[in-house]
Symmetry: C2
Subunit: 209 residues, 2 copies
């Protein structure tokens, strides 16, 4: 039933990397559905037959690419959230610390959104992305809890959802913008999130500036 995994040579592992690189480019250009496996093979400089020596089918390619992205994303998240004292840091600094690495990740991995932002994403792909989404949700929840401890849990969930949604919405605007516009747009993103979050961090009746 299950085919035993084959022992990859160094050449083969290199090919797999090349194929995934090519797939990322093709998916970014055409989207998942429209991209053809033969086009991925051609982009990688490989025959269709060779491609299927390494990946069982099109979805397996996407899945391997997803795993690679998820790993890179996890690293970016760790960089973004590690050692950040959400309760003590001034809000602007906190936003800088958290947002800049994740924006940088999305700029460095242009295929990422093309693969994961699609509504017709196969279930297997969504499953691969879910742990990283939940991890992100947990971290944002933590920050909200640290900075707005008086907020009821239900509203805390809602706030975290809104923060993540707004953030993810601004990413394509930033990555698609020409270079000189990216900095100001990132500043605007921080304004949106910061001004949304700021009033929640004050207790009722507290009017310190």
């Amino acid at each position: 039933m299950t085919e035993r995994p084959r022992r990859r040579q160094a050449r083969g592992q290199q090919r797999m990397v090349e194929i995934l690189d090519a797939a990322a480019r093709v998916f970014a250009r055409s989207g998942y559905e429209t991209a053809t496996t033969n086009a991925i093979a051609a982009e990688a400089g490989v025959s269709p037959g060779s491609l299927y020596q390494f990946f069982a089918n099109k979805e397996a390619i996407a899945h391997a690419l997803a795993d690679r992205f998820v790993t890179a994303m996890r690293t970016a998240h760790e960089e973004a959230f590690a050692g950040v004292d959400a309760a003590a840091l001034p809000l602007p600094e906190l936003l800088d610390r958290v947002i800049d690495p994740i924006v940088a990740f999305n700029l460095a991995n242009p295929g990422f959104k093309a693969l994961f932002a699609r509504p017709d994403m196969p279930e297997g792909l969504a499953a691969a992305a879910r742990p990283i989404q939940e991890s992100l949700f947990g971290r944002v929840m933590g920050i909200v809890a640290d900075r707005a401890p008086a907020l009821p849990p239900e509203e805390r969930v809602r706030t975290a959802r809104v923060l993540i949604q707004v953030f993810q919405a601004m990413i394509p605007l930033i990555t698609a913008a020409p270079e000189p516009e990216r900095g100001p747009l990132t500043v605007e993103l921080k304004h949106v999130l910061g001004r949304y979050l700021d009033p929640l961090t004050r207790l009722p009746g507290d009017d310190t500036p």
Copy 2:
């Protein structure tokens, strides 16, 4: 070269409406690429041959659907922006007046996002949606200009872009949410936009509450 348009009977016009209704449902379920014309025909209770009596090809169906949505959207926008004195109205009231009708439109037209939010949208479709996007952009620009006249034009453009992007990002969160969550999420949307916009409406040094 050009085929002359045929004179539609009442029965035919009714069929076209049914086909577009069916297409909206199928597109909403599967997305544009994955949806098959035979599935649309079946959903409409019509043979594939009949479908092509009314629409030249798949893209023509999407285009007609786009036109329908664009018209409905224009109506919703007019309802949202007409007779709103952006300079005089308190910000919360302004947000209520503008946001509620557009949210209602998106709730009433679930196929809309499925057709227009896709990255692989054919160019013809994007062209059909562009006038309405530009109209929306112009209206938001007007509001920003009314409420923050001191803002340099360049920043005004950026602000309008951000407002629209954030708004459109929150729409799927609201429409996908179960009913009891929609109200609170809409309130959050207004908070995000309101708090982002509020500081821009004050001149430097103005600290009225």
